[in-house]
């Protein structure tokens, strides 16, 4: 599961003060091929459209991940800490 830790570290370096909460999301018999998904929680997303957030993530993927690594990714949702707080209170 080295890719999980590496990706988390890279994301948290690229987005300072972010929390990258990632996991293997597919229930596959071969977990080494399971896709990775999760959340990127970053105060810098405040006031930004969701498309812009995802395009920033896309630029990160292009800069840091190989094509094979990109294919391992499922959706990474983008939140501000405040948005997560609202969801937890719901």
């Amino acid at each position: 599961m080295a890719i999980l830790e590496t990706l988390k570290k890279q994301l948290e370096e690229e987005f300072p003060d972010a929390v990258a909460d990632l996991e293997l999301i597919d229930d596959r018999d071969q977990p080494e091929f399971a896709r990775i998904g999760g959340n990127l929680i970053w105060p810098g997303f405040a006031g930004m459209t969701h498309i812009k957030r995802q395009r920033m993530l896309g630029n990160f993927k292009d800069a840091h991940l190989s094509r094979e690594e990109q294919h391992r990714l499922s959706v990474i949702l983008t939140f501000t800490p405040e948005e997560v707080g609202e969801l937890m209170a719901a």
């Binding site: 597919d26 959340n39 498309i51 995802q54 993530l57 499922s74 959706v75 948005e83 969801l87 209170a89």
Partner: protein, 157 residues
């Protein structure tokens, strides 16, 4: 037959994969498929919510009906409900199942027929009409995704 927790999890994972595909298609500029996959992702998400309630998904349902059957809006706090409902409305007015067989020019014609070539002030959209509507659909789908998948993860069922 009613859906099970396993069915709900399967549909949720499908929705996650489809949202990821939507983002990739959008970045690649695939107009029609981006819109189609956005609707597909929302459909999978709402079906997951229905199965989570251990209910049956009826045939030939639109997105709004699926949201209703899964009680999707019941868990949306009142403060966010208008934004999430508006986002679903934007998608529902632009997504139809036959999109997967359409070319970009036929979608453009259909959107003109539906009046989706006009801004709220009545003026005509400038530039690429399908790209303009694609942006609206993707932004709206991400709002629904954050609400639906985020709530699934961060709050109680």
């Amino acid at each position: 037959m009613s859906g099970s927790a396993a069915d709900a999890g399967r549909l949720k994972r499908a929705a996650e994969a489809h949202f990821a595909a939507m983002v990739d298609l959008d970045r690649s500029g695939h107009q029609v498929l981006t819109i189609y996959v956005a609707g597909l992702a929302i459909e999978a998400l709402f079906r997951a919510y229905i199965y989570r309630l251990q209910r049956t998904v009826s045939k030939a349902h639109g997105l709004r009906e699926l949201a209703e059957d899964g009680e999707f809006f019941k868990g949306v706090p009142p403060g966010r409900r208008p934004e999430v409902a508006a986002a679903l409305g934007e998608i529902a007015s632009r997504w139809y199942n036959l999109l997967r067989y359409e070319s970009v020019d036929s979608v453009e014609k259909e959107y003109r027929r539906r009046g989706l070539d006009r801004l709220a002030n009545g003026r005509l959209v400038k530039g690429d009409l399908v790209a303009y509507n694609r942006e609206i659909v993707v932004e709206s789908a991400l709002i629904v995704a954050n609400e639906g998948l985020g709530r699934w993860q961060f709050s109680k069922p």
